[in-house]
């Protein structure tokens, strides 16, 4: 028997089977109670998936209720396939981030590729054309061959899918930290654009309407995969839980995407839903639940890639590139004709009923029948049992001498993988397809996309520094939200909405539970303070390795609006002679900083950011950028002010002279002034009077050739060439012998 499939009837006692499928005894009892009988195989498989952490949010749903989700611009909020905000001109922007961590730890190329494929479907399920992809990746340190293997595969996989389907990958982030060694994080984001009146929801409605499955044929892909797998730690040698690897086919998805959008444009669909984790089971159940109807599905009508599949296998298969839609019977022939045009599969596999049940049929005979309500909302939600750890629970490793000269410290920071240029990676992504990308990766703090249809532009930023969240889950998460807001401000954009992916360890353990709870509080408070609604998100728990949980990693993504993409500034200095200033309530500290990491001095605790003051600084900068008053803007983050200055200089090919005395006067040590981190700092350049008028503290001037920094008795003088060499230290990662 295939080790990934469910035991057949009689293969083992029912009781042990539900445990194997990840259900507790109490959950199983509840299912029996709700059905009024014991579930059969098909039903047990379907319940086990929908009642998994991945689908049911058992350990996070209660917490997520704290997030502010309302706002004037919200078109669709949590509960839909993706969130959406109004961008004006009759258009809405849909976006979502999703994790594909566990599949990628098994097969990084396909895991990352199918992660992109999945998030694209969530967005076009709303009737939005995907216009941008972003990726947020976490790996162990680069001295580990396994981390390099995972990194290389993930980057190639994201590029493979996004490039092939013709959606621009416009931004992202990559961090390397030891706690991700055995559990990398692969989060992918998609942003789509839709005419508001052409958007569609996932609710199945209209008793008697047809249910049509579109796209690829169904095989044994990922059976027992993402849903079950994502709900339990992946132990060493835990082969039985490894899924059959899902292979992404971007060509199939490209046809499916065009076909779905054309079907919607012609008004042929009542509703549309992607097939993701838990395949048909979850799509059908969610569509039925949203529309308060029942659905009958006949598995014999599902086009199969392999002939001998059992009903439960068909119901839980996670074969990629499939969508489910509800169609009025009279429109079915027209739907099939369009699918034929796009050479994409289509089969009428069921009907909408008023039974409130999901019925699975084989050749017309029921092989499973469950109340939709029990499947979708019946799973018990659990309280967390959080406990704050006594101190820093992660290991430290020093790689930099604390007495190193400041210039060497700067070069070491610039060369450290978290700070060094990711050009080697993003050059593997098509960032220009679609003719909208006004700010490509690395040219500004946020990606900027022109929306000629709506007459304006959007900016997108994605952030989440797990190391800082590990130091203080509350403050670290607030900082992640603020950093997104700051990134948007740097290009003159105003936040419209936020999405997030909460990547955490095992919520049944006290410390990860505490991290999760504090992080969600931080997320809620920061969004509240900024007035930015949370329009969607995703949760990935049980991210642990043999040494314990990953750094708690809330990945936050924000979409903002700006009136004209041409107004966006770059982070590069613009011209010699411009003044350089620091703007905003920046109070740098070495706590949780990249420098503290290199020195092996990480410890629990972060200063609490002043959210209101940061919000004010963002608004001030945004207005100044929109008024065209500033030459460049860059937020101060990893590696502190010295690294921010070096980045603006490298990007421009210009040097500078800067004196950090004003920070010394605020009580900073030279190290803190140069390399300290924290929210609220903007490095801006432009005309001196303008910067002063904005409240900027002038630090120096843009010059040529060298970077000269003074912080009290500490002086840094380095050539642009040296700085650039350090910053490009990861270039070799794109060499051929690393690719396959």
């Amino acid at each position: 028997m295939d080790r990934h499939s469910l035991p057949r009837p009689g293969a083992a006692g029912v009781v042990s089977r539900h445990r194997e499928l990840g259900l507790t005894d109490a959950e199983f009892e509840l299912i029996v109670e709700k059905l009024g009988r014991e579930p059969n195989d098909v039903e047990l498989a379907m319940f086990s998936l929908l009642w998994s952490e991945h689908c049911a949010y058992k350990h996070s749903r209660k917490l997520l209720r704290r997030l502010p989700t309302e706002g004037e611009r919200v078109v669709m909020g949590p509960g839909e396939n993706a969130g959406a905000v109004d961008v004006g001109g009759g258009y809405a922007v849909a976006f979502k981030v999703e994790s594909h961590n566990h599949p990628s730890a098994v097969e990084p190329f396909q895991g990352a590729a199918t992660g992109v494929g999945g998030i694209l479907r969530d967005v076009f399920a709303l009737g939005a054309r995907p216009i941008a992809i972003l990726d947020s990746l976490r790996f162990g340190e680069l001295d580990s061959p396994r981390s390099r293997f995972l990194l290389d595969g993930a980057v190639r996989g994201i590029g493979h899918y996004g490039n092939s389907i013709g959606v621009a990958t416009v931004g992202g982030e990559i961090y390397f930290e030891r706690p991700y060694e055995h559990n990398c994080l692969i989060n992918a984001m998609c942003v789509g654009l839709a005419k508001r009146e052409e958007m569609v929801r996932a609710a199945a409605t209209g008793v008697g309407n047809a249910v049509v499955l579109m796209g690829a044929a169904t095989g044994r892909d990922g059976i027992g995969g993402a849903s079950v797998l994502a709900s339990a730690e992946l132990g060493e040698g835990d082969d039985a839980k490894r899924p059959t690897v899902q292979i992404g086919d971007p060509f199939e998805e490209s046809k499916l995407l065009e076909c779905c959008l054309e079907l919607l444009e012609q008004g042929l669909l009542v509703s549309l839903q992607d097939l993701g984790a838990a395949g048909l089971t979850s799509s059908a159940a969610e569509m039925a639940s949203a529309g308060k109807v029942g659905i009958d599905l006949d598995v014999t009508k599902v086009p199969l890639r392999e002939t001998d599949m059992e009903p439960f296998e068909i119901m839980v298969s996670e074969s990629q590139e499939r969508m489910l839609c509800v169609v009025e019977p009279a429109n079915v022939p027209a739907v099939l004709v369009l699918c034929e045009k796009w050479q994409t599969g289509a089969a009428e596999i069921g009907t909408v009923t008023d039974s409130g049940q999901i019925r699975v049929l084989r050749d017309g005979e029921p092989v499973g029948e469950m109340p939709v309500e029990a499947l979708v909302d019946g799973c018990p939600l659990y309280e967390l049992d959080p406990a704050e750890p006594a101190g820093w629970i992660y290991r430290n490793r020093a790689t930099l001498d604390p007495d190193a000269a400041p210039a060497d410290t700067l070069l070491a920071l610039l060369a450290s993988p978290n700070v060094a240029s990711k050009r080697w990676a993003f050059e593997q992504y098509d960032s220009v397809v679609g003719s909208r990308t006004a700010r490509r990766p690395e040219s500004a703090d946020a990606a900027v996309l022109a929306l000629p249809e709506a007459g304006n532009a959007i900016a997108i930023a994605i952030d989440g520094n797990g190391r800082r969240v590990a130091c203080d889950p509350y403050a670290g998460t607030v900082e992640a939200v603020l950093e997104c807001a700051q990134n948007l401000a740097c290009v003159g954009a105003e936040p419209l909405g936020l999405t997030n992916c909460l990547n955490f360890g095992n919520p049944e353990k006290p410390v990860p539970a505490w991290q999760l709870e504090r992080a969600v509080s931080g997320l809620a408070d920061a969004c509240e303070a900024l007035g930015v609604p949370v329009v969607g998100g995703n949760v990935s728990l049980y991210n642990e390795g043999p040494e314990g949980p990953i750094y708690p990693t809330p990945v936050v993504a924000m979409v903002g609006e700006l009136p004209d993409a041409r107004l966006a500034r770059s982070s590069a200095f613009l011209r010699e002679g411009d003044a350089i200033a620091l703007l905003g309530p920046f109070a740098p500290s070495l706590a949780g900083s990249q420098l503290a990491k290199l020195r092996g001095e990480l410890d629990a605790g972060l200063p609490q950011p002043d959210t209101e003051a940061v919000a004010r600084a963002c608004a001030l900068l945004r207005d100044a950028i929109r008024a065209g008053r500033i030459s460049s803007a860059h937020d101060v983050s990893d590696g502190g002010l010295a690294c921010a200055i070096a980045e603006s200089a490298i990007a421009a090919g210009l040097g500078c002279r800067v004196d950090l005395q004003p920070l010394r006067e605020r009580g900073c040590t030279p190290d803190e002034a140069l390399f300290g981190e924290g929210s609220g700092g903007f490095l801006i350049s432009g005309e001196r009077e303008v910067l002063v008028e904005l409240g900027g503290v002038v630090l120096g001037r843009v010059g040529s050739g060298a970077i000269e920094l003074v912080a009290g008795e500490r002086r840094v003088s380095v050539t642009l060439a040296d700085v650039k060499r350090s910053w490009l230290s990861l270039r070799h990662l794109a060499s051929p012998d690393r690719s396959e």
């Binding site: 389907i165 060509f251 220009v432 397809v433 990308t437 041409r566």
Partner: protein
Amino acid sequence: MVWGVVQFPGSCDERDAVHACGLAGEARLIWHEERALGGVDAVVIPGGFSYGDYLRAGAIARFSRAMEAVAEFAAGGGPVLGICNGFQVLCEAGLLPGALLRNENLRFVCRQVDLIADGARQSPFLREIEPGERLSIPVKHGEGRYYAPEEMLDEIEANGQVAFRYAPGQNPNGSLRDVAGVLNEGGNVLGLMPHPEHAVDPLTGSVDGLKLFSAASSALANA
């Protein structure tokens, strides 16, 4: 002047090509199953991953019905521009010499590069570009390494069929003799790996690519 942009399943840059052509005339999409080009004055085979680029880039698309019509159109002297995947399709179809292989570093590469116009041969697409002129245009491909056997390379060079080369030191894919784009013998068919349709607006990079479209447009107007 009407441009036709051929769309295959898996094409990606067809809307961008329509946009660029629209700056130098009118433009419409031609579905790959159409047998006739509907009287267009020039054809673009756009970038993307037709048929997933499976097997070899362009290998399957070149058999489409629309490509039969394009071959006839080209044989009659009609201007045909193949961009990236379109270049691969035209090589596979035998309308241009050579072949495009996987990039030497085995990686997809997306980067703004400088091209130098070689341009000894007359072509409707090159009339507004001086030989030796430098153009800034993005590349984005995984299979763009231009290859032809030595004798063939000598011959197309001697014939003035090399339209563009990557500027020294900027060859992104290992193309032989830095070849970025080639012409057929008649000069009416041009294929290149860089994307001129993504260089038609300063906001998104540069405007250097626009010259190819406007040149063809004025060439036809004067014809």
